[in-house]
Point group: C2
Chain length 600, copies 2
């Protein structure tokens, strides 16, 4: 039997029932598509995952990337896989027709990515980075840049990257110092180093195309002086041949997990001949980069959910076959042992995972729908979808990332002693997912983004729009007897969130920004729980409607499992907001009062 790493039934439920992707096809941009075609895309992702990606997950873990003669070697199958990603259209799928893409909704591409990352996270990163980098060139680049790079990237022949971090500038991008010196030949000379560049060098492609932040000589300090460059590892010379562009690989990071993808340390311009090609205008690089970053942040939420999904089904399968102990009411030791899924605490750990995985995936889908609606509408609708997406982005990135640590940990725990060993994959998923609270902005950064920027952006319009939508769903949920108590619970918690926000704005006024943002991470956590509660209500409404309509499209067990997971979320997860609320309303700013010297 193939190992199950995600639920097709659940993905169908989310796509066709909860988010009704048929609606997307009514939009001009997507009018050539049909829901059946979307299913075929997801089926293709499933097939590639099962035949190519999952089979090499363990091999990739056991054989991490390494350097040979100054170049990074990755799993030998990666070349074939990148070619498949290219030929099957995974890299170009969401690009517009005129750029050679298929104009497939971002939602569908992300869900396909969800499947592939659940099978094997690392290879998927190669494709999505290339997609994001190509999209940047498409959006902001000249025709020449497009013609030079994008086709090769779409084909999976060349790898794309996002090259932001430097040794002294990780979370603090305003401190980027990689320099770009203008020449009279249309390019800049790049000098500096970049660290943690995912897929920054490898032998699975013929070239690497870095989308790189650098500072043009004389540019202002801070984020307003950063420009975006296309910096290939190899560039074309006058004869149209590829030649080395002075981008050296200084090293590859040895990591705890995520071993299939190489994370490189790069040195540019050691020989004074690294050429960079300006993308768009000078000094606007960071704002351009945010296009890719925001897409990548949704992607991180999806990937964290993928790994939690893989771990969930892994542990669910084990819990159904591993016999250990007896029911508490069974005192006869001669009776056979029972599968551990029958123990309440194992069920708790399974429902916890299910509530996290399916709640998170629903929130990711929600963000994707906003994205597609934003990109394909005008005027007030465009603005509303943009604002809701902006507000949700830090949550979509962070909630799944943080909870995936706990969710994969619960999966590991279900395996008992075996979970700590390499005989099963539980320990791999636990190691693999730990990256997600770090890359694309550490959790604290997103807390500050949410509370410091998003909540009050455009005079709080983003918040207001989202709350209106949530309240609409709460009202719908109240129509169903089984959902009513949970709808009311969420409504109450939203009131409490508003109180907390008002309280904190008072703190901002009286005590300044440091006090205001000192517990932004907790605010993010609380907001995240409510957002997932909302998604569970939406799923609950859909499940009730399907039941009422007598639909046979979903198994009774599936519908019942939705009901249980929803209840789990509201019974076990929602109450966690109580302690967070207490803390957020406290006057005692412990973390500000303690000086660095007084933490010993």
């Amino acid at each position: 039997m193939e190992p199950k790493f995600y639920s097709k039934e659940n993905l169908r439920f989310l796509m066709h029932e909860v988010f009704n992707v048929a609606e997307l096809c009514k939009r001009d941009a997507f009018k050539e598509h049909t829901p059946e075609e979307f299913d075929m895309i997801l089926e293709a992702a499933d097939s590639l995952s099962t035949t190519h990606l999952r089979p090499i997950l363990l091999e990739m873990d056991r054989n991490p990337p390494h350097i040979v003669n100054g170049r990074v070697k990755v799993h030998p199958k990666m070349r074939e896989i990148m070619k498949r990603f290219g030929e099957d259209g995974w890299i170009s799928m969401s690009a517009p027709y005129e750029h050679g893409g298929q104009q497939v909704p971002f939602t569908i591409l992300q869900m396909a990515g969800f499947i592939m990352a659940a099978a094997n996270y690392s290879p998927m990163a190669y494709a999505f980075l290339t997609n994001g980098a190509a999209h940047l060139i498409e959006t902001f680049g000249s025709k020449e840049l497009f013609d030079t790079y994008v086709t090769k990237m779409f084909n999976g022949e060349w790898q794309g990257t996002m090259a932001l971090s430097e040794p002294q500038a990780g979370s603090s991008l305003s401190d980027v110092v990689t320099s770009a010196t203008p020449t009279d030949k249309g390019y800049y000379l790049i000098k500096g180093q970049k660290v943690f560049i995912s897929c920054g060098d490898h032998d699975g492609v013929d070239n690497i195309v870095h989308l790189m932040l650098a500072r043009i000589d004389g540019a202002p300090a801070g984020t307003n002086g950063i420009s975006l460059f296309v910096v290939p590892r190899e560039r074309y010379n006058d004869k149209g041949e590829l030649e080395f562009n002075d981008v050296n690989t200084a090293g590859v990071f040895h990591k705890m997990g995520y071993h299939g993808a190489p994370i490189a340390h790069l040195m540019m311009g050691e020989a004074g001949d690294c050429r960079g090609y300006l993308l768009g205008e000078e000094h606007k690089g960071l704002s351009y980069m945010f296009q890719m970053m925001n897409e990548a942040r949704i992607g991180v939420g999806a990937n964290a959910t993928s790994i939690a999904s893989a771990a969930y089904y892994n542990s669910l399968e084990y819990a159904n076959v591993r016999a250990q102990g007896r029911k508490l009411t069974e005192k006869d030791p001669n009776k056979p042992q029972t599968p551990i899924i029958n123990h309440a605490d194992v069920k708790r750990m399974l429902l916890f995972q299910k509530a996290i995985v399916e709640g998170s995936l629903s929130l990711v889908a929600q963000a994707c729908i906003y994205y597609d609606n934003w990109k394909t509408s005008e005027g007030a609708e465009k603005e509303a979808n943009f604002l809701k997406l902006e507000l949700l982005t830090p949550i979509v990135k962070s909630y799944p990332a943080e909870m995936s640590i706990l969710s994969t940990s619960a999966a590991l725990q279900i395996f008992g002693g075996y979970g700590y060993t390499k005989e099963f994959m539980a320990e791999l998923f636990f190691r693999e997912t730990r990256i997600h609270t770090i890359h694309e902005g550490a959790t604290a950064i997103h807390g500050m983004d949410l509370l410091g920027r998003k909540v009050m952006m455009k005079d709080g319009q983003a918040t207001m729009l989202l709350m209106q939508e949530v309240m609409g769903d709460i009202e719908k949920a109240k129509q169903h007897e089984s959902l009513k108590p949970y709808a009311e619970a969420l409504e109450k918690k939203l009131g409490s969130l508003q109180e907390i926000t008002v309280h904190l704005l008072g703190v901002a006024q009286s005590k300044g920004p440091e006090a205001y943002l000192s517990d932004a991470t907790l605010y993010l956590e609380l907001f995240g729980i409510l957002a997932i509660g909302w998604q569970w209500l939406k799923q609950g409404i859909t499940a009730e409607e399907l039941k009422a309509a007598g639909s046979k499209q979903y198994s009774n067990e599936f519908i019942a499992s939705k009901h249980h997971a929803l209840q789990y979320f509201f019974e076990y997860e929602l109450p966690k907001t109580e302690g967070l609320a207490t803390r957020l309303k406290s006057k005692n700013k412990v973390t500000l009062n303690a000086t660095a010297e007084e933490i010993v």
Copy 2:
């Protein structure tokens, strides 16, 4: 500079101020000792840790145990280290004088172990398993068994183990099937297999002595038919030479971390010639084993705290030197970056770790003091200390184990991208500590132990005695202005705990044991938070008293840091009980209502 892996100042504070170990020296059993001698023991542990243990931590991680010709090979230094453990008296230290020990309090031995495990957890496991196994033979064995085994074990020449788990009997010990067939030669023939046997085979010693659970032919099913045997890997023949005792190593488990210690899969009696020597009486094996298990459970709590301590100081050091970003109020990007310890969220993650590490260590010390008092007193005092220890044991084991996962995760997060790489040790500590919620009873087992047995043992006497003691400390804390609000908060929470317990006892009566225990893990978590709150109050009282007395023994920074960590605990951790209380009082037994088929 040597890396710091624990705080000497804090250990001194706990031992001499909070728990006043001078009191132990007034007891008959310990009257030969002085507090200064205890300090020398801890100093010796520090020295061994710095010179021998920490230097090989990374090597051990990179070179896990492996099998060569059917035997497990471990780090080549382990033979020397085991010899040191023996010669320096670490294995025998707590044994009575008449058995060749030094009758050192369990408290001191555990604190020495805390230091060593913070330096390098794995080697410490070899010593403590040998100590525990020897203690079992000392306590329940014949003189012959004592003479044959204990001296060699005390010397570090032979390894001791606890051999409980079998492939089909992990958490469910009643299903142990390893058989023991009586012979007329004074020994039993053992047949069966054991899994997850820590230090179950290795080349750092000359012999392995398993303290093994097995079932004598014809014994009753269940836990009442289990006996305890001494089963050496090699036994003495008539000529006094060692010969193979038919204990084969079937394999060594490859684990996520904790690579310095081999975890073996053993096969006994494949050639029909594995001899086991009964310890104590037939069928009483499990109750004997609980002596070692209960000591080991305190040890697990201590070890989990050790690893969290190592990760805390690792991340604290980094936070003080790594510059990144600026204060939120500093808008000038030309100003130098600030060490990340100055960011509120980094301080939060540091204070979190400190609150967990020092709160847990204090609780471990508390349990050890009960242990020593129990072992060295009579009558009501003995009973009271025994009961309080029994009640605290599941908490001392589980709270540090569970929180160490989160604490080491926070340490890793402070390192940002570097935390996920092997350039620093954050990822190692995160992998290393994950075993602790599993071995010596998975967390769920301790939840059921606490709520199902301990809370109501002897008509609730254990609970009553502990609560009396806590209330006494709360009253003391109320005398200090700075502690009063926290003392009152804890008092309120204890009232809430009592309500919850009463509520659950009602559930037990109306709905039976499954409903009663379905959220025992959450009850354990809640109880744990209150227990740590109590320990922080105790530390707070001591800090206040030292300040009032104008003591110069502790730095101002240390005293201030205690104050901050205490506040952190009460501001951020105690509120988590609110959500737990809500859940524990809910009528909706989600995990019982969901059938196995309805979790998909």
